[in-house]
């Protein structure tokens, strides 16, 4: 087994008396997709905030590329190659694809005071990168991001992170607001990012999406790792039951019928 990109050992995260994470251990490996599953309030968001430097663990260790690490800020984590794409992806609707793609790292040409953004390069690279990740509908870097669909914006954000050398991608529910086709596009893109060697943490409520791309699975229940397994070790039923907090989903369905 290759060295994990990131590893958590017995990590706790408390907010006052709320124990959001309890003794969480997990490994993110390069070139693999780790699916993080769990019900509302299970601690998924808290966990990715620990991974991306927003929170420091209350106790326990975080290892990045084999070394014990403490990220002081999200910025530090980002500089080390950990990119987080939130559900709203943080794009700017009234700006062009090229300008969004390079925001904060704009390519320039010419000398000051006549230095200017190399818009053509920015547009070319942005469109190129998105096509590489399977998005062929966007052909002009001048297109406003506000005219793109949610899935296309996900592709833009993920492509951007990969272009700027992300080793680890944290995707917070990237498919949950998308239709079937769009979700398929984002899942396909995750596979391409995996092929390029990125370690991916994929948070989702959707067991089908998780099963279709996941290599390893971690299920959180009330801040604890309730199960952790590899692809093919559990059936969809079992995963669904786990996600529902260990209750049998068939029982739940009966309950639902009674309500009707």
């Amino acid at each position: 087994m290759s060295q994990p990109l990131m590893e958590l050992r017995d990590v706790d995260k408390f907010f006052g008396s709320t124990k959001a994470l309890k003794q969480v251990s997990m490994q993110v490996e390069p070139g693999k997709i780790l699916c993080l599953l769990g019900d509302n309030g299970a601690g998924k968001s808290t966990l990715i905030k620990v991974l991306s430097g927003y929170h420091q663990p209350t106790s326990g260790t975080l290892l990045f590329e084999g070394k014990t690490t403490r990220f002081a800020t999200p910025r530090e984590a980002r500089q080390r190659g950990i990119a987080t794409v939130h559900q709203d992806v943080g794009s700017i609707p009234l700006m062009s694809v090229g300008r969004n793609f390079f925001l904060g790292a704009e390519p320039v040409k010419g000398r000051w005071p006549f230095q200017s953004i190399d818009t053509r390069l920015a547009n070319e690279v942005a469109v190129d990168q998105m096509q590489k990740f399977g998005l062929t509908r966007v052909t002009s870097g001048e297109q406003l991001v506000g005219t793109m669909s949610g899935g296309e914006r996900q592709v833009l954000a993920i492509g951007r992170a990969m272009y700027f050398g992300a080793k680890m991608l944290i995707l917070d529910e990237p498919t949950s607001a998308l239709g079937v086709k769009e979700a398929a596009m984002v899942l396909k893109m995750m596979r391409i990012a995996r092929q390029n060697g990125a370690g991916i943490v994929f948070i989702t409520h959707n067991a089908r999406h998780a099963m279709s791309v996941g290599d390893t699975f971690v299920v959180l229940i009330q801040g604890e790792v309730a199960a952790s397994f590899n692809r093919g070790e559990k059936s969809r039923e079992e995963v669904l039951n786990l996600m529902a907090g260990g209750e049998d989903m068939s029982e739940l369905e009966e309950d639902l019928e009674q309500i009707d």
Binding site: R78, G90, S91, I92, L94, R99, L103, G104, I117
Partner: protein
């Protein structure tokens, strides 16, 4: 039709043609007539450009009026009361403008209060301070300015009817255009106004962007105070009060979204030119100039609606 300045361009064209056709033989379209409306637009245009960039970044500055007056009074008190040469006073006035901008920027960024209210307060503080200090020093709130020939040339030269402030306006517009449309900083301005959190997340120093733009408005307002002071040979604490609302009005007419994140320098220039054409054109028609306010009000209302429409258009098609 999707560019931010499209509406302003159409409005400018229609208004210009209207006055050109409504006032045949009066000289509105002559060289002198053109210089006339350009003069009226120029000083407003100089402040409107940084105010517009600031609005694109998502903030307002209503303190420009008092800064114009303060700058002119610095020239007046310095050259007349203390017999100092004018050039050092010019730089002192610019420094004061920059400082007022810095104070605005820091106050807005640190307190996170709406800049609308913060700079409105600054406007009263600065005009009050200018009047108070002027009274203490010279017992006046307006006073004449003693300018050297070089200063008179740089700030008040005239060719026929055309005032040198038109050239200053063009210079500021050119700089504004380079910054907003071409530079990295311009990208940050759009991003800061378009989605503050996303901009910060991408590593844009959003606070620095805003503070820099507040300083730029302060400097531009001081420049206008200097231009007016030297042209009219006097300083007055109340100079520039008209700009407080005129500047944001022409910016919005120029296609800048009130919510920030969208707009262009070309649009702002057109919005200002439109203001010049109306103010001067009314005069040629022989109507009462009171109608200017009505015209501007209607245009502003139309512009706000049109901007919203243009924005939706930009987001709906490719």
């Amino acid at each position: 039709m999707k560019r931010p300045e499209a509406g302003a361009f159409a409005a400018f064209l229609i208004t210009y043609l209207f006055f050109a056709l409504a006032t045949p033989g009066t000289g509105f379209v002559s060289v002198n007539g053109t210089a006339g409306w350009l003069n009226l637009a120029a000083e407003l245009g100089i402040v409107a450009i940084p105010v517009g960039l600031l609005m694109i970044s998502g903030e307002f500055d209503l303190s420009i009026g008092s800064t114009v007056g303060a700058a002119s009074m610095i020239l007046a008190l310095g050259t007349n009361q203390y017999d100092l040469p004018i050039w050092p006073m010019v730089f002192l006035a610019l420094a004061a403008g920059g400082l007022i901008g810095l104070a605005n920027g820091l106050a807005v960024v640190k307190t996170k209060l709406p800049s609308f209210i913060v700079t409105l307060a600054t406007n009263f503080i600065v005009i009050g301070a200018t009047m108070g200090v002027s009274r203490l020093i010279a017992n006046v709130t307006s006073s004449s300015i003693v300018a050297s020939d070089s200063a008179k040339f740089v700030f008040a030269a005239r060719w026929g009817q055309a005032n040198i402030s038109i050239l200053w306006w063009l210079l500021v517009a050119y700089i504004g255009y380079r910054v907003l449309s071409r530079s990295v900083f311009g990208n940050w301005i759009y991003a800061t106004g378009g989605n503050l959190d996303a901009a910060r997340g991408a590593g844009v120093p959003v606070q620095r962007v805003k503070i820099s733009l507040f300083i730029a408005t302060g400097l531009a307002a001081a420049l206008v105070g200097i231009l007016q002071g030297v042209q009219w040979n006097s300083g007055n604490a109340t100079y520039g009060m008209g700009f407080v609302f005129q500047a944001p009005i022409v910016v919005v007419i120029g296609g800048v979204l009130l919510t920030g994140g969208y707009g262009s320098v070309t649009g702002i220039v057109l919005g200002t030119a439109l203001f010049g054409v109306i103010s001067s054109g009314i005069f040629y028609t022989g109507w009462n100039t009171d109608w200017i306010q009505l015209f501007l009000g209607l245009l502003l209302a139309a512009a706000v609606l049109a901007n919203n429409y243009v924005r939706r258009l930009a987001l709906s098609s490719k």
